[in-house]
Symmetry: C2
Subunit: 473 residues, 2 copies
């Protein structure tokens, strides 16, 4: 691991748009602001001021960014270009979330009021987007998802600051027993944040659809978001990126991957309900391999939408069509086209040479898991690792955990280091090391020398100062 | 716990139909054979010959039993009538599963061949059915589900006895690489059994639908089935019964409950896709309570099909309709009518005074979990407890586990006891004790004195001799 190699790969970031190399052309007639394809990787906000955004997003953004790069996720986070592609499809964003209280009126066009500064909720936000079909959707998502989320949170912040969410947002009970109904349903503040994340992903997806259609561009992206708020860490995932918690004695997955294989039953079910979505070109049934003429009349293994197990069926002619989901593991494809089943964008994506749309089978809604940071007895070296699939293709959760523990125990915090200018933070270096260990430049600490040919982006979030209500209001 | 109380409650069983009391009338014009409403509770087959069925079901049953009670689940298992109802809606079955190899020909009307006795697969089967709307569906299920399952298993037994299921049931590969495709998909023998259980539940459901329609009867039932086969225990559940594994240091759930609450998103999703199923009478949205006129225009908590979290919405007039799923916990009802979301039967069930059908929202397909008994280091007192919701309403998994451990440690196996005639087996006594502890006749060993007003049925399956391939072929 030579420093020269790092210099080539890791470019210090500044206010976006980032500097472009002479050989990176601006995409033709693109209304999406071009940014140097990059890997952005930062560490969590608890590493002092080092990673604090230069300009906290203190005002609600009312509309999605159109043709403008928000400076929101600039700051000291380093930008990594792994030199694989000038049109890098991985994008990222991180920064502080400032959530204002807003007053609801009867009118649709409500006024947003800042009541007073101490009534703000603040949190932190990290997001990774792994694009496909071009970087456009990933860039749009990196520029706007945090605004969608902040807007969603601001519409419910009244409920979030209450001990328990009120049934009526105005705070006026219609029935005296309303709190009891909320109690009986077990509705907690964290359910509001989960709902806000779900709505924000959908809002962002719709915005991306409009933007790409207006600009004649295409593409989609996965989205993995972590939000630290009120002593909890929320991890929202739509796609095949992954977040894990690494502690001294524990490795805990904080997300699940959504691929054609993991969502087979949902996808087959949709094709069962709406067979016209397959236009007679695909079979919704799953077989061990694509069937051919010689299989006709034979009894072969198959699965349909209602089955977790396998059974045998007599092969008919319609079973010879191309399967709705085909291939195994990394090669599994939805409609022969897409390797993920959730994400943002892809509104225009069609099966090659057909009019068959992918979008009806894709979900933009994420699965959200909640880590109660305040309930953990946190150690200095407890971290969350978020990364795109390029990392997880070559390193298991356990391997990443071993790399993390080994690196942090060999790189103790320097008590005299205060500023980012003193050099990269050890958690930033850890993220760099994890990416490095997938590049095959050396065997790395694992000695396994596996190489990822995909884009790789990594966030390392130290949890220690996320807990103890530090990100509460 | 007086013996007199037990004499009144526990009637020794004989070949079915069971003896009827003078005051139990035969239902009018019912083609479903009347059996005395009963609780059947037996212990697993590994308790020596004591619980072995008197007449193993050695021949494949080709059609569902029509108008005839199979003697299959007779034997020494005791029959319990808790004296709550002469038309008890709990039903049960248990016995040996004998699966013959069958040869496949080109014709539909295949011949079933017994190749030789040593090529049989044998297993054991336990099933609990908790009926509603009358006992008819539960009785039909108790009489026929095992036949459906055996028939399903016999169609795939060629695949089950192979090391890995062949892609083609004939055993003739079309491609030399066929085994590799099966390997890559990770298809194992247990996936065939899971598939057979899923298909058997569906076949049984269709049969119940036909039988009840033909006889003008109504009703449905939950189904919880355990099958011990080839060193594994399969637990298939459709409804709100539950099975748990109890070991010295472990309590492990082997099933999940399927209720309108646990399947909210699936049920709301269906109403979203087919709004006509609600006939304009229900709202698919979930609120903390049913809304009323005063809520109009207010922002209230709600959830839709795509949401795990909660959000707020402005109440419109259509939100005032009765909710698709209403109530909490034990009171939650689907369309104001049904407390479970999976099971058998209910083909004719409609919302009171409307034409709105329940069946489209119900699934007959079970969720199947697999316990690899051969991989457990089994102790003599490791058991599986299966019970209908009446037990779990008043006792938690942990409470049941404490009762089990305490009972078995105080009731060691008598090495001189060989025959059932020597008295009830200690696992049978344990099942009795568990039922007793829900009846409020005394405080029981828990000292909590909770009373179940529902039917309660319990199987206790000792695992010790289910392992070590004892139920293999």
């Amino acid at each position: 691991m030579s420093s020269g190699w790092f210099r080539r790969r890791f470019l210090p970031g500044g206010p976006l748009p980032a500097p472009r190399s002479p050989r990176s052309p601006r995409p033709r007639a693109s209304p999406v602001p071009y940014r140097r394809p990059r890997f952005l990787r930062g560490s969590g906000s608890c590493s002092g001021t080092a990673d604090a955004p230069r300009r906290p997003d203190a005002r609600p953004v009312r509309c999605p960014a159109r043709g403008r790069v928000l400076p929101w996720n600039a700051g000291y986070a380093e930008i990594i270009n792994a030199e694989k592609s000038e049109f890098n499809e991985d994008q990222a964003a991180c920064g502080k979330l400032c959530i204002r209280r807003c007053e609801f009126g009867a009118e649709e066009d409500q006024e947003w009021l800042t009541v007073c500064p101490e009534e703000l909720l603040t949190g932190h936000y990290w997001a990774l987007f792994d694009g496909h079909g071009g970087p456009a959707a990933a860039i749009l998502a990196a520029n706007t998802l945090h605004s969608c989320l902040r807007r969603q949170l601001e519409t419910i912040v009244e409920g979030m600051v209450a001990t328990q969410p009120p049934m009526h947002l105005s705070g006026h009970c219609v029935c005296p027993s309303d709190p009891q109904f909320v109690e009986e349903k077990g509705i907690r503040t964290e359910d509001l944040v989960i709902g806000a994340l779900e709505s924000a992903f959908q809002e962002c997806d719709e915005m991306i659809g409009r933007e790409l259609e207006a600009s004649g561009q295409v593409g989609g992206c996965t989205a993995l978001v972590a939000v630290s708020l009120q002593g909890k860490l929320y991890v929202a995932n739509a796609g095949d990126s992954r977040a894990i918690l690494v502690r001294r004695d524990e490795v805990r997955p904080l997300s699940s991957e959504f691929t054609p294989e993991t969502e087979r039953q949902r996808i087959q079910q949709l094709a069962f309900v709406y067979p016209e979505l397959l236009a007679g070109e695909f079979t919704r049934l799953e077989f061990p391999r694509r069937l051919k003429g010689d299989d006709l009349g034979q009894k072969v293994l198959f699965r349909d939408h209602h089955m977790s197990g396998w059974s045998y069926k007599c092969v008919e002619k319609s079973d010879l069509k191309y399967p709705l989901i085909h291939g195994q593991g990394r090669q599994a494809r939805l409609l022969g086209t897409l390797a993920v089943s959730r994400g943002l964008g892809d509104h225009q994506l069609r099966v090659l040479d057909t009019n068959i749309q992918l979008k009806p089978f894709l979900l933009s809604v994420p699965q959200v898991t909640v880590l109660d940071v305040d309930q953990l007895e946190l150690q200095e070296e407890d971290v969350v690792v978020m990364a795109t699939d390029g990392l997880w293709d070559v390193l298991s959760n356990e391997q990443v955990a071993r790399l993390v523990r080994s690196f942090l125990s060999g790189n103790q915090e320097d008590p005299h280091r205060v500023h980012q200018q003193d050099g990269p933070h050890r958690f930033s270096e850890l993220a760099q090391m994890l990416i490095h260990s997938t590049q095959g430049k050396d065997d790395g600490p694992t000695g396994e020398g596996q190489v990822s040919y995909d884009d790789v982006s990594v966030f390392v979030i130290p949890l220690h100062s996320q807990g103890q209500g530090s990100s509460g209001h």
